[in-house]
């Protein structure tokens, strides 16, 4: 496992720490990139000697004071140290796999740096590739320098994730492209430095110290002179031109006044480097906090983290990863276990609700039983009414019609009516046969009566004969 915690666990949070000769500063950004908090603590001027931490205890206390003052939300930290402690070199190798370049650089290290190979930590990053060759920047630092820093930082309770020279961090913040040059002029109260940067790699650094006998004007003059010398040297080499170079002013007292003064002496445009912190003294700490974290193995960034520290992190990460995985798996399984229960409870609740709804409706319907009974009774009455209504018809009109059709010579003395057959039976006397037959025909012609039966015996006598006759009334419905 060659990964840093922050590499695999994307939500790891860290703050940026810049170490200067007389001050340590830190900046923490929120996940959205806004400045969350920042703090600074002064350290003794002699804390470092010969690029080595010599006052370890006071440095640890300073770090603790810094953390206490800044109330940072994390113990992970990205550290940048003075460029002067580092060695920056360029090298070209054939375009190969990363592992092969690693090996090639390992073979070349002893030639690149003026120190025994065993005495330095180094890291490299790809700059550009051309004609089958990869141009890489190699940065080295003495082990004694970094080891003393790492020990103190861990002893203070912090967990360093990255170490890089401050000029690299600032160059990254400026965002210079390859073939673009920046003269990063850092002006602090007791010292200054001028670093020539191409893209994100530093090419040359010079340090200007504020001596005890120096006046501020002399200090300013020395810085400007150093800047002029570097600019002139690299201009003469054909590297620096007005269209590809600018001077970047940063540091504790890197103010507009300094920039205006230097503008009269240097031909290149001058930019005051500013960050959301609003204080140029925090530029390096901000730059260190602003960049996403990459492990030393990443070939696009510099991280001088010692391998043994990284291995401790790797092991710690592995354990926490397994623990986290197990915990998440358990939570997942618990959720899977819970889902059927939740579904069952939900279904039972739904059933209960529907049962209540059904009971309410049944109760409503039961309370309306009287209405239902009324409807049923009414329906029965209607059926009876429809069936019986035709029977309500009486033979009144037929009787009236019969009376109207009875001629003068016919005397009806008896009439019987049977409604089941609509049958009328009459009997009486007739003055003569002709009249009787005419009466019969009149009944038939009236269409009110049918099936007229006149027995022949009624026609036997010519005159004054008794007769009987039956006929059926034609329903007018």
């Amino acid at each position: 496992m060659n990964l840093l915690p922050g590499f695999i666990v994307p939500n790891i949070h860290f703050f940026g720490l810049s170490i200067d000769r007389m001050t340590i500063r830190a900046v923490e950004l929120s996940p959205q990139g806004a400045v969350r908090t920042y703090a600074e603590v002064a350290i003794d001027e002699n804390t470092f000697a010969d690029a080595t931490l010599v006052k370890k205890e006071s440095f640890i206390q300073a770090l603790k004071a810094l953390v206490s003052q800044g109330r940072f939300s994390t113990t992970y930290v990205s550290v940048c140290f003075p460029e002067a402690y580092a060695y920056t070199r360029e090298h070209s190798v054939p375009d190969m796999e990363k592992e092969d370049i690693d090996e090639a650089v390992a073979w070349k290290v002893k030639d690149l740096f003026p120190l025994p190979e065993d005495d330095i930590y180094y890291d490299w990053k790809r700059l550009d590739a051309k004609d089958g060759q990869v141009h890489i920047g190699v940065v080295g630092i003495q082990k004694k320098t970094l080891d003393s820093l790492v020990d103190a930082i861990i002893a203070s309770g912090l967990k360093p994730l990255r170490f890089e020279p401050d000029a690299s961090a600032v160059a990254r913040l400026i965002g210079l492209k390859p073939q673009q040059y920046g003269l990063v002029t850092e002006v602090n109260k007791r010292s200054a430095s001028v670093t020539l940067v191409e893209g994100e790699k530093s090419l040359f650094t010079t340090v200007v110290t504020y001596g005890k006998t120096d006046t501020p004007v002399a200090f300013l003059e020395n810085i400007t002179a150093s800047l002029e010398d570097i600019a002139k040297y690299y201009t003469n080499k054909g590297m620096l031109r007005k269209d590809n170079t600018k001077v970047i002013v940063t540091g504790e007292i890197g103010s507009r006044e300094w920039a205006d003064y230097m503008a009269k002496r240097v031909a290149y445009p001058i930019q005051i480097l500013s960050t959301p912190v609003g204080n140029s003294a925090y530029n390096k700490a901000y730059a260190s906090a602003a960049e996403t974290m990459s492990p030393p193995q990443d070939d696009s960034s510099i991280n001088l983290m010692p391998r043994d520290v990284q291995e401790i992190y790797d092991e710690s990460w592995r354990i926490s990863y397994v623990q986290s995985l197990a915990l998440r798996s358990l939570i997942g399984l618990l959720i899977i276990c819970a889902i059927p229960f939740v579904v069952l409870v939900s279904v039972l609740m739904q059933k209960e609700k529907l049962a209540k709804e059904s009971a309410v409706l049944q109760s409503v319907i039961k309370s309306q039983d009287a209405s239902i009974g009324q409807v049923t009774i009414l329906n029965g009455k209607l059926e009876s009414l429809l069936a019986l209504a035709p029977l309500k018809k009486t033979p009144a009109s037929h009787l009236a019609q019969l009376a109207a059709l009875t001629p003068t010579g016919i005397h009806i003395s008896q009439l019987e009516y049977d409604d089941s057959k609509q049958l009328y039976t009459i009997s009486g006397t007739s003055s003569d046969r002709t009249t009787l037959l005419a009466f019969r025909n009149a009944l038939e012609s009236s269409k009110k009566f049918t099936k007229i039966v006149l027995p022949l015996s009624s026609l036997e006598s010519e005159a004054n004969s008794d007769f009987s006759m039956s006929f059926v009334g034609v329903s007018s419905l």
Binding site: L333, C337, P340, V343, K351, A396, L415, D418
Partner: protein, 169 residues
């Protein structure tokens, strides 16, 4: 890892046990939903019936009156007597003591006889027909010694349908 395996097993067993239960409960819910739909439909019908009862009350009352009950039969008799007095010279009527059942329907059988002008007699029949009761004249017997122009002796049987049930007091 052991705990993970145990939890996996528990999760699987839980799912296997509970899924059929959930499935059967869902079927019950479906049945309940159908029952509720039917009940809602019944409730709507009841509501509509009530509306009809409200808006058609006069007609419903008329239908109800067509079958006199033990109380309203008195009114029927009164109305019948009024008609008889108006249309006949003399009259008598007899009625069965108890309603007679016929295919689930009850009726009282009246036998009415008397004397009347023939024209008034036909009017009597018409007036009975116009009464707001279900009546049915079964047979008529007329003696007309003077023909249809003068007084006739009449006798007829008539069913008067009554409410079922009809109690005798």
């Amino acid at each position: 890892m052991t705990i993970l395996w145990i939890f996996s097993g528990v999760a699987l067993i839980t799912a296997v046990i509970l899924l059929p239960v959930v499935s059967s409960q869902r079927k019950s819910i479906e049945l309940l939903r159908n029952e509720i739909k039917a009940l809602q439909s019944d409730t709507e019908l009841i509501g509509i019936s009530k509306e009809i009862f409200g808006s058609q009350q006069p007609k419903i009352d008329a239908i109800s009156r067509a079958f006199p009950d033990e109380e309203t039969i008195i009114r029927f008799i009164g109305e019948l007597e009024t008609i008889l007095k108006a249309d006949t010279i003399e009259n008598t009527f007899q009625v069965t003591d108890a309603p007679i059942s016929e295919s689930g329907k009850l009726y009282l059988l009246y036998t009415i006889s008397g004397k009347a002008e023939f024209g008034k007699f036909t009017k009597l029949l018409s007036d009975i027909e116009k009464m707001p009761y279900l009546t049915h004249i079964l047979s008529i017997s007329l003696r007309t010694p003077d023909g249809f122009t003068k007084t006739v002796e009449y006798s007829f049987q008539m069913k008067v349908y009554v409410k079922n049930p009809f109690s005798i007091r």
